[in-house]
């Protein structure tokens, strides 16, 4: 027993846990990979691996109610493509997803009854996951499920949950539905349900690894991970993309792709001048990456568009330019062109004034005290 405890402290996963997963069809290698990816993503020491394995193993699967409102199902898609463990394992073994419009077998009244049952049975204990923004204009008529508005559903389900996770930029900050002119009055989950404990996992889509890691954290420690001022977990949103970017050396050197497909772009130079918003965006894309850690936008040659930042559709555009357009000027006018114009106009105006003043007579002071030199 003492030996086992020592092993757990060293981050070793107990043999019988590995064996149990093997009998369920998850190889030791895959399970260890899962635990190490989770430990690394959460920025926990390697000695926590054993504890994470134990927490995932324990029979404390939290019931999950997954609601989708004004969204594109992109976050569900990303989640279903989570590779560690496979989506099926996640859904069947590791979480108890009692309600999810896209993947549940039940429909209509049956589905609503399942949701209600979970809410009543596990009041204050289940996890609510929200995908998509919540339209608040005109009492929320722009999005209704089973005759009830998204606003009412979110308030009821999130209000009675142990914790709410807003997945994707729409649920976290309003995202694309809340972009100007925001005709439906779309708001984020934390705005719609002010009293609830909401953790935001923005991104378009969110990174499934971060969602899994957040849930693993909840299972291991009984609470959601530490968040920043925007309600985002620090483990995933604590650093700028720019500061972990694999193209950073080219940025510091001064080597930039000037156009898609040019020599610099083909050599993998920095995408800063193509409007990359990596320097403005906090996310762990460069380290966790997407699709089984295969790639992420900057690695594949496209600048970051800042999709996980608040109001990214309005504030990060134009996506292929460094700076926003100057309000009130033409689309092609850049801040520097207008600025140069201001400086040039000043120089011309004062130059003209100078010529006029130089020719001007009779405005000299103390001219009576001026004596001429030979």
């Amino acid at each position: 027993m003492a030996h086992e405890e020592k092993q757990m402290q060293d981050g070793v996963i107990p043999e019988e846990i590995l064996q149990r997963w093997e009998t369920r069809g998850v190889s030791r290698r895959d399970f260890m990979k899962f635990c190490s990816v989770m430990t690394a993503t959460l920025a926990l020491p390697v000695t926590m691996m054993g504890k994470i394995a134990e927490a995932v193993e324990g029979d404390n699967r939290p019931p999950v109610i997954w609601m989708e409102f004004q969204g594109c199902t992109g976050d569900s898609e990303a989640f279903l493509r989570a590779n560690q463990p496979t989506a099926t394992e996640l859904i069947l073994d590791y979480l108890s997803i009692d309600y999810h419009e896209t993947i549940m077998a039940a429909a209509g009244h049956q589905a609503e009854a399942a949701k209600r049952q979970t809410m009543e049975k596990y009041k204050g204990k289940y996890i609510a996951i929200v995908e998509g923004a919540i339209p608040a204009a005109e009492d929320g008529v722009y999005c209704t499920v089973a005759g009830n508005s998204a606003l009412n559903i979110a308030r009821e389900v999130c209000g009675n949950a142990a914790a709410t996770i807003a997945v994707g930029s729409c649920a976290s900050f309003g995202g694309v539905p809340a972009a100007a002119p925001n005709p439906t009055g779309a708001i984020s989950v934390s705005e719609a349900v002010p009293g609830a404990t909401v953790m935001n996992l923005p991104g378009c889509p969110l990174n499934a690894t971060n969602l899994t890691a957040a849930i693993v954290h909840f299972l291991t420690f009984g609470r959601l991970p530490a968040t920043d001022s925007l309600g985002r977990p620090k483990f995933a949103y604590g650093k700028r993309i720019h500061d972990n970017c694999e193209r950073r050396a080219h940025f510091d050197a001064g080597q930039y792709a000037e156009a898609f497909g040019d020599a610099g772009h083909r050599q993998g130079w920095c995408l800063y001048k193509l409007g990359c918003k990596g320097p403005e965006t906090f996310h762990n894309c460069p380290t966790v990456r997407y699709n089984e850690g295969t790639s992420w936008p900057v690695q594949s040659g496209h600048g970051c568009i800042g999709c996980s930042e608040p109001q990214f559709w309005d504030t990060m555009s134009p996506f292929y330019k460094r700076l926003p357009n100057v309000p009130g000027f033409g689309v092609e006018a850049t801040a520097d062109k207008i600025g140069l114009g201001i400086a040039a106009a000043t120089a011309v105006a004062f130059g003209a004034h100078g010529v006029a003043s130089a020719l001007r007579k009779g405005d000299d002071m103390e001219s009576d005290q001026v004596s001429k030199e030979d």
Partner: protein, 217 residues
């Protein structure tokens, strides 16, 4: 008889020249940071790196210089005082504002004769101090993003959350151009007054002395 008067005390002159140097360096490096167009063939180079290091170094110098100058508004002589920057607050000041404006627009023969700042210049400087403040705050807000748990990030967090970092970046660029526009105007007006007032305006910012005829005041 002309008197020699000590108008600009040394902290005023020193902060003035620190501001000049930092504005030039910050504008050049800042323009490069916003629009890096030097050709750099070697990946081992550190061109953007050095530009940013220099930009941040001079940003600190500029910030300290502006703060010292603002503090001196409460310790220095009457020409350095904060009161000198608010000419519209007094009846006499209003007279000088109108007088200087009508002189600049060729409607009046001679400018009002003053020892310190002329009234329009003082108004421009109050606006420039506001621009400096916005520039310092937006600059450190953008700079502080390298460490979201750090001092600068926590001090500037309200500005970032209200305006967003892209709007701050745009503001930071636009103010650079406004300050350049101001610098053009400032050098021109100093030259004009040096010629017309004959009181040593240009040399006074180096030595501090102006040549004043009290009977004209």
């Amino acid at each position: 008889m002309l008197q020699i008067r000590y108008v600009w005390e040394w902290p005023v002159r020193l902060t003035h020249w620190f501001n000049v140097i930092s504005i030039i360096v910050l504008s050049v490096t800042g323009y490069y940071i916003g629009n890096p167009s030097l050709s750099v063939p070697q990946t081992e180079s550190f061109v953007m790196g050095w530009m940013r290091v220099v930009h941040y170094g001079f940003a600190y110098l500029f910030t300290v210089s502006v703060i010292v100058r603002v503090l001196w508004m409460f310790c220095g002589n009457k020409h350095a005082s904060w009161r000198a920057f608010l000419p519209w607050a007094s009846r006499e000041g209003w007279g000088h504002i109108i007088g200087t404006f009508t002189y600049y627009t060729f409607l009046r023969k001679k400018p009002p004769y003053v020892v310190g700042h002329n009234a329009l210049a003082a108004m421009a400087y109050s606006l420039v101090f506001v621009l400096f403040a916005v520039q310092v705050v937006s600059g450190f807000a953008l700079y502080g993003q390298y460490d979201p748990n750090g001092l600068w990030a926590s001090l500037t967090a309200p500005f970032l959350s209200v305006f967003g970092n892209q709007a701050l970046r745009l503001t930071h660029h636009m103010i650079m151009w406004l300050v350049i526009g101001f610098a053009i105007h400032h050098v021109y007006s100093a030259w004009l007054m040096d010629v017309k007032e004959k009181n040593g305006t240009l040399s006074s910012i180096f030595g501090g002395y102006k040549f004043i005829d009290p009977k004209d005041l």
